[in-house]
Subunit: 255 residues, 2 copies
Amino acid sequence: MVMKPSDIRMSFRTEENTGTTSGMCEKYTQANLVTLPKAYAFDFLLFCMRNPKPCPLVEVMEAGQTVPKVAEADIRTDLPRYRIYRDGKFTEEVLNISDVWQEDFVTFLIGCSFTFEQALLDEGIPLFHQVQKKVVPMFDTTIPLETAGIFKGNMVVSMRAVPNELVQRALSISDRFEQSHGSPVHIGDPEEIGITDLQKPDYGEAVDFDPAKVTPVFWACGVTPQNAALQAKPTIMITHAPGHMLITDQMDANY
Amino acid sequence: MVMKPSDIRMSFRTEENTGTTSGMCEKYTQANLVTLPKAYAFDFLLFCMRNPKPCPLVEVMEAGQTVPKVAEADIRTDLPRYRIYRDGKFTEEVLNISDVWQEDFVTFLIGCSFTFEQALLDEGIPLFHQVQKKVVPMFDTTIPLETAGIFKGNMVVSMRAVPNELVQRALSISDRFEQSHGSPVHIGDPEEIGITDLQKPDYGEAVDFDPAKVTPVFWACGVTPQNAALQAKPTIMITHAPGHMLITDQMDANY
């Protein structure tokens, strides 16, 4: 039985469930989270607008607001895991952010490729990370981003190994999901975008596959802001833990 | 002979020319200007994103930047007239803003209905304000906007009196120009949107027409932020003077 978003979120709030959201609540939009003090919010909003492929905005919340429009959720407790960055360094992974919440925090919700995974499955494209119960592998790349104020850096991508004969289909399915990163940013040779070893992801977990039969396909990833934060060094920045998203109450319009 | 945008802008810079830009440099995009200290920039950017009809973003500049991407211009001198608002009150109209410029100023360029006026003329729709050499009449309305932080209020509209039989054509022409306010927000009875007297505009100048033969058509207007500023009361906010826009170097893609 498929659980409702509100039930799943409650299991995160009670910390009964703390794993990846990949494959949960099929067809509902999932979102990356970035929370920053308002002093950084203009630069970050501009960064998202200038880099819509890795940072498609689902919602921008007002300072201090904890309940978004896209989900009857408390964004401080209703994701399975969060990461805290201080002065550009990753310092802690936590199960809620109630204790560190500040009234001047502005939260950005950014589209996520998990949203189109069910569409891939429905059209016969296997998802190895789901079968192998792994967090989807994600990689830093050499693909440059447009700078905005203090935010700059390279794109982070998620990788799915797609059977060679299904690559074109995966491309055209994901292309419909513009608010969830849309079509891939790269297909094939990982070295062309600066990835040296597919078995050593920068985020998430490595997935087993037979390189002769599949092609690595790379989508822009909402973990990109975490990479940008390492360089921008805001005093504090909170994100979801890679692979551990906000599940919204909105069924994606592309289903 | 039609002057080039750079030549016209130079005539504004030297203050040889200080009038409305309506009808100038046909087919080039014109833009409204809003300049604010960076402390207000996040709220204002969010206000624009939530109200794309009156505030379609052409460009958002970095703090302290004076040369936009859309024009080889200095935005401190190359518009014919500016207005300065302090603590929510209109205090001065000036020909340049060099003396009041601050390093933390962020400038927003917002689409303008002047951009599609040539398309209206090309398809046989007369523009009474151009014939009568008036600044297009603009009105405060009761059409509410989405609030963002300190910015809120009602929409400002520009009015063009269109011969009855040409209203549908004016609608479909302007609809193409999405980044310049697009289709009208109201057609006909001004009282329905809170306008009591078409001969008493809140901005610009009244235009003569025969009410039996024409229909008033109202487009969302980039003066809307000036109305919002009256309520938000930022310490300082600079805008173009209504009708006195930035002429960019970009030919509108809809021509």
